[in-house]
Amino acid sequence: MSDVHKLTGAYALDALDDIERARFEQHLAECEDCRAEVAEMRETAALLAETSAVTPPDSLRSSVLAGISQVRPLPPEVPRTTTPIDIRSAQPAGRRGWMPFLVAAALALFVGIGATVTQPWQSDEVPQLTAAEQVIEAPDAQEVFVDLGEAGRATVVRSKDKDRAVITTEDMVAAPAGKVYELWLMSPEGVFTSAGLMPDAADQTLVLEGSAATASAVGITVEPDGGSEKPTTEPIALFDLTEAT
């Protein structure tokens, strides 16, 4: 069993962060076994609530009933489908020069993570979001995942509406001594603008600095401590956003 299947429990208990959850929901869309297991685990978790039942104050009942009288229930959902797009079949010719350094074979691209109908019972209201969550939860959020092999895994989510991109890393190896990972936003013309330095952490979620709405890619390079104004090395990862629209 691969690692991703083991996330059913943590997912059912709302114990994943936003990007982990978004990624797992993509997996759920394709994995019937996990969907069934998540449903069972949610029922199981709900049984745990039996042990903590507490009679609520009367004010809750009156505020709930007053609240519903002012809102019409949403209409039933009409099923939609989302189709993962394979970026490997759609590389823009203009950036072939980058390809040797891009982990192309492992690069997969998904669209529509905010709009899948496979999220069981996700509520429509999402209160009190952090800046990163606002991007990740945006209806137009797009995600690109890159597997760096032994160097870790990273995911970029971009929302054009929010004009921001967010990167999440998992098990990412530290930059070499005296070096730092620097993030870049690449314009359609191929111009790289620094989007900030990555703190030295294996697992983190960062909002990239700068306007991301029109960026065609996000890159990571290894730079001398303190960073550089322009990339001085080839990127260790490039996240192609052009096909994610």
Binding site: A46, L47, T51, S52, T55, W121, S123
Partner: protein, 201 residues
Amino acid sequence: MNHVRPVPDGTPQGVPSGGDAPQLSDLLHRAGRGDEAAFAAFYDATSARAYGLALRVVRNPAHAEEVAQEAYLDAWRSSARYDVARGSAAGWLLTIVHRKAVDRVRSVEAATTRDETWNRQTAPVDHDQTSEAAHASLDAARVRSAVATLTDVQRQAVELTYFGGYTHTEVATLLDVPLGTAKTRIRDGLIRLRDLMGVGS
């Protein structure tokens, strides 16, 4: 056999007890067509569990009330989208409540406060914050005895995530184990509870 066993649905007045699942899902379907009285009955049958869960996670009664209120309003709005084939009506509601409660603690409480609260909460005397009604409930007793069969590490991992509202990464740190170990404990603990309580196939 591959259906999900419904969460036992409560009788009116919020006292948990077995049976009655068809009634709850029926109430929800009627609510989806705008029937406020049906939703009031749904509220009465589930509110002790919903409020109790919110209170267990967020700790603060005023916050718990807000969380439960938001969850019920969401449930009302989404009631036409509830699909009985995907699980019980009570499980559906409590999923919404839990998500909102977790969102609340993660956004509002400082990590230090939560750590202190967890330390207090893990003291044996404090551990079960339950109502008289739940103590009297056969279902609660059944759940308790199932939980009691978990290994200590599984129980800690499941309770820290479900009632503590921590992420699996935070749980791994709190328990001082690798993330993969935390994931496995959460999942194994839930699978054992699922099997003991007869949820699923």
